[in-house]
Amino acid sequence: MRDVSRRSLLAAGAAGAAAGSVALSGCGTAKGDDGPLRFWNFYGPQNSPDPAVQAQSDWFVAMVDEWNKTHKTQIELTYIPQPIYLNGAKLPTAFAAGTGPDIFMVSPGDFLRYANGGILKDLTDHLKPEVIEDFGDSLESRTIDGRVYALPMEIEPLAIFYDVKAWERAGLSEGDIPTTWDATLDAGDKLRSPTRAGLVFETKPGYYQNFTWYPFMWQGGGEVLDKEGNSAFDSKAARQALGLWQDAVRHGIAPTTPPAANDVISGFKAGNVGMWQQGIWQVASFNSYAPDFEYGVFKLPVPSGGSYTTGLGGWTFGANTQGRDPDGAAEFIAWAIGSMEKHSIQRMTDWCVKAKTDIAPRRTALELGIEQGGYDSPVMKKFKDEIYPAGRAEPRYPPAVYKAISDAIQGTMLGGDGVSGAVDRADQSIEAYLKSYKGADLV
């Protein structure tokens, strides 16, 4: 085994390029000391007709403006449209070439990849102990060996949204809000029609689909990995969770493609959806686009003998160790959402109750949000009091583990695979991957 530095490989490439090139006009400046720190995100600055989206962009702009007014190190926001941020080649290419942003947003699915690649700056020293305590559990999936590598800006629990009018028209009442899997399938069966999906689960393969599926497995006591870090995927809980989605599709209760081209609000408004497993963020979309639409939310149902939990998503801020000024970037993140200063707490509250509708990941910010009326509406109250508390953070499994589980979900839900075989295959490929895995703990 031989480590070849990126520089020498680049040099080889550059030599070739230089030899053949007419105009070698300069060399890449990955780490210029000058210029502002670049903060790549998918919120702003932008203009949007959607008041919620506009408010989110404004929040980012205001945050950076305030920092720039009071600090010597300047920050510059770069808006990357979300489809490109999530699936595009832009970020990976930039990081691979050493031109990645100084500050960026990290999802749970990408956390370990960045952390193991040594790209995420250890933020711990920039955070006061009381801040770390204030974040509490929400830091768990962002911590490696007791050190914090990314700071969450939001917590987004999953629940089931339903159309109240359709519910009533299907002869269901308030008392019929299902708490079990069977009751949910029954309700879905009653709600469905040729133009209305009974119960919608995510259908497209991706980190998001896995995220929405895990809680069903956890409810039955299933785990992807055990405490020693071996695969524990082959379990009754995993099989029954896959079976639930498979049954829902087989009986025509769950559709195989999302209604309304995945525009959730329009789908509900147009009467194409009975129930849809979605996250707390949809509350903001309903508020801004369909304020009069009557919808309700309820906790994810539970299998017999299981116990309730849900998935908690949400993005984090991370600083790039290979950036222009990693300490400055870390300093900014701590200042923005990770200090005990009033502005920092208020900023997170603003994000979670004004710009978006989320659970604040810091106790102080959550309390401030409650105080300022952010959780007064019945839906948000339900999210805060019932749905969120027993939730579990979205896991940070690396791509190979994600892919194995995704294939099991897709295969059983949409590909006609048997549940047992799919679980076996996933279990084996996770096990095989873990043998060669080197890096931080997966859980």
Binding site: M1, R2, D3, V4, S5, R6, L9, A12, G13, G16, A17, G20, S21, V22, P83, N87, G88, A89, P92, T93, F95, A96, G98, R113, Y114, N116, G117, G118, I119, P194, T195, R196, A197, T203, K204, P205, G206, P255, T256, T257, P259, A260, A261, A270, N272, Q322, P399, A400, K403, D407, Q410, G411, M413, L414, G415, G416, D417
Partner: protein, 322 residues
């Protein structure tokens, strides 16, 4: 000898030219001047292709021998990525999907665009308008194509299912089943590309001298006989070109459509090799592995086109009257 090979210059060029010509002034032989001119003419494109296509390709082949974190660390693994590829069922599945995709898409596209080309050659009233209409799908970017069809194929409200229901048939979840989703993607790609290859065919058809058709008409040949004995043989270079280009396009393109419509699903049903490679590289950060698979894919294409070249003698099916 192949049609893409350069025909040799006729031997009966006036003898004065081989030594005389403009070279007299400079004292250089024409041969030498011709070589220098050729080098200069080829230089800009040569350098460009070298810098922006060949070197990246060579680098990519090189990257295939490394394990790359995506953040600047490179670890030599020799053939490790290729071994991994050999035992990666997902890669072989994606090759299988690609195989089906190519085998269905390319002939369908061929027949449809040839048919349209023949139709356009009839000089029907308003041909220019039809031509534009058939070409229209090709001017739309693939991202938009994906978005558009996501709507049209919507299970509940999509226009396709609405039409089927109006006709008394049942709507389908076009993107909800693996094989149906692949068929939908193929149909969409045919729709996108048919206008383009129609133009190529039309151009090829117009190269066929009109006298041949006149002669056939006088002989009383029917449309089918005319097509079989005149159009088809004389169109072979074009057919070859279309086959080759559309096969390459099918193997290397279409990622944007897949992303928008299916993300490779359902159940990897539309996970084309190129999509899987993209996924490994840019979503999973496995650049070395992706580079290895990519190099392998390029190798397959080189072999395929070599076979096609050999089998068709570069589009000259009518072996050697020259």
């Amino acid at each position: 000898m192949s049609s893409v090979a350069t025909p040799e210059r006729q031997q009966d060029t006036p003898s004065g030219q081989s030594t005389g010509g403009p070279s007299g002034r400079t004292g250089m032989s024409r041969k030498k001047r011709e070589r220098i001119a050729a080098a200069l003419f080829l230089l800009p494109d040569g350098i460009g292709l070298l810098t922006f296509v060949v070197i990246p390709m060579l680098l990519s082949i090189g990257l295939g021998f490394f394990q790359i974190s995506g953040f600047g660390s490179y670890e030599w693994v020799g053939l490790g990525n290729y071994e991994r590829m050999m035992s990666d069922p997902l890669f072989w599945d994606s090759l299988k999907v690609t195989g089906i995709y190519v085998v269905v898409l390319v002939p369908t596209l061929f027949i449809v665009s040839l048919g349209l080309g023949l139709l356009m050659k009839q000089k029907l009233p308003g041909t220019g308008i039809y031509r534009t209409l058939f070409f229209m799908p090709y001017v739309i970017s693939l991202v938009v194509v994906g978005l558009l069809w996501q709507f049209m194929l919507d299970t509940q409200n999509g226009v396709v299912n609405k039409a089927l229901r109006a006709a008394g048939l049942e709507g389908k979840a076009w993107l909800g089943e693996p094989s149906l989703a692949l068929a939908s993607v193929i149909a969409i790609m045919v729709w996108v590309m048919m206008g383009y290859y129609m133009i190529i065919f039309l151009a090829g058809l117009q190269e066929i001298p009109q006298e041949y058709y006149e002669a056939a008409r006088i002989d009383g040949a029917g449309p089918w006989t005319t097509f079989r004995t005149i159009t088809w043989p004389l169109l072979r270079p074009t057919s070859f070109f279309v086959l080759l280009m559309s096969t390459v396009a099918a193997i290397t393109g279409g990622i944007e459509v897949i992303f928008v419509l299916t993300s490779g699903g359902p159940a990897n049903g539309t996970s084309l090799a190129i999509f899987y490679i993209y996924q490994q590289a840019f979503m999973f950060g496995e650049y070395g592995y992706a580079a290895a698979m990519g190099s392998f894919l390029v190798l397959i294409m080189v072999l395929c086109s070599a076979v096609v070249f050999k089998a068709t003698k570069g589009g000259r099916f009518d072996d050697g009257d020259q």
